[in-house]
């Protein structure tokens, strides 16, 4: 399962000793769940907490020095789980989850700061996984704008259509929305097709 990923890291290692892989996407698309999967695979421990409440990750989570060894080569990377990017953050969206008004407003402020940090951090990542919820309409302002920004920086991108374990997932819709990019479907929750993700990454970037 890890063979493809290891090959990809090996290819990147030839170019740069330590790379930063950023995980981008809208809130609640499964970025942290996927980051946890990768971290467990490579470092044996998860990265951060997941929650059904939007904007659970409000600061960039960084797993530094994830190291693997391939045929005598020592490969090190930093994995960056980015806050969900949104064009509007409204504290009232959090109230329905039982959060009181004051805490919701604080959460909104932190989430907005996270959005700014994530966008500004585009200048610092070497490669990006762009996560899209396959059960949702992919034609969103955030998806289009962030993908455009990543491409403008010539950062290697791989679109990850997540949540394929859900019955209303529509992978074809994601592929048709962004035909210019490679896309791989996974379920970060169940681990379905993670091997496919690694293989796709390897073939694209190695």
């Amino acid at each position: 399962m890890l063979k493809g990923l290891l090959e990809w890291f090996k290819g990147l290692f030839k170019k740069k000793k330590q790379l930063s892989l950023g995980i981008y996407g809208s809130p609640n698309v499964g970025k942290t769940t996927l980051a946890n999967r990768i971290c467990v695979d490579l470092a044996g421990e998860p990265m951060g907490a997941v929650s059904p409440i939007p904007h659970e990750t409000r600061a960039i989570q960084k797993k530094e020095n994830i190291t693997i060894k391939v045929k005598g080569l020592k490969l090190t990377m930093n994995l960056l789980d980015m806050p969900g990017i949104a064009v509007k953050v409204d504290y009232r969206d959090f109230l329905e989850y039982g959060i009181n008004k004051e805490d919701a407003q604080k959460r909104a402020r932190e989430a907005t700061r996270g959005v700014v940090d994530a966008v500004r951090h585009l200048d610092k990542v070497d490669a990006a996984l762009f996560i899209i919820d396959a059960t949702e309409d992919p034609y969103t302002q955030v998806n289009i704008t962030i993908l455009g920004n990543i491409e403008a920086r010539s950062i290697p991108i791989l679109i990850v259509a997540n949540k394929i374990d859900l019955p209303n997932a529509n992978i074809q819709r994601v592929r048709e929305a962004f035909p210019a990019y490679d896309c791989v479907e996974v379920s970060a929750m169940t681990g379905e097709n993670l091997s496919g993700l690694y293989k796709e990454i390897a073939s694209k970037l190695s």
Binding site: K88, Y91, A108, V116, L122, I146, L147, F178, A180
Partner: protein, 148 residues
């Protein structure tokens, strides 16, 4: 000041423009010089036809005020490190802009307390200052291009 184009009669009420001049003409000319002179009388504005029409606006203002930040926030004329936004609404129609932050960050407008709007710029050449494509193409157009 509006004058009848036929007889030169000065119009005192805006309603007369709608109903027409007593001479039968419905064509009027606006005399800017007379209108701006201090001796010119202000034209009497007709009352709103439907007083209820303005009520929702007032209600919206009051409704918005409920969720607004404390007055101390709007009294500030500078940004602090606590502020996430780089544009804030000081009062109705009055904005405070953190120009320095705008050169480095996405545009963040704070509406109510806990309500933010973010405009993510389209980057080109590694500079956040370039908010728009030089050729006017949007991100969505750019997105569709390779797949066409």
């Amino acid at each position: 000041m509006h004058k009848c184009a036929r007889c030169g009669r000065e119009i005192q009420k805006l309603d007369d423009v709608n109903t027409g001049c007593p001479c039968g003409s419905k064509i009027f000319v606006f005399d800017k010089v007379v209108a701006l002179s201090s001796s010119a009388k202000a034209i009497e504005m007709p009352p709103p036809a439907d007083t209820q029409a303005q009520a929702p606006v007032e209600m919206n203002v009051e409704k918005r005020a409920e969720g607004h930040a404390p007055e101390s926030y709007f009294a500030r004329t500078t940004f602090t490190t606590e502020d996430v936004e780089n544009i804030k609404i000081v009062s109705k129609g009055v904005f405070l802009v953190d120009v320095n932050a705008l050169s480095k960050s996405p545009v963040v407008l704070k509406d109510d307390e806990g309500v933010y709007f973010v405009k993510i710029p389209i980057e080109q050449g590694g500079s956040w200052n370039a908010l728009d494509e030089p050729n006017g193409k949007s991100a969505s157009e750019k997105e569709k291009k390779p797949g066409e």
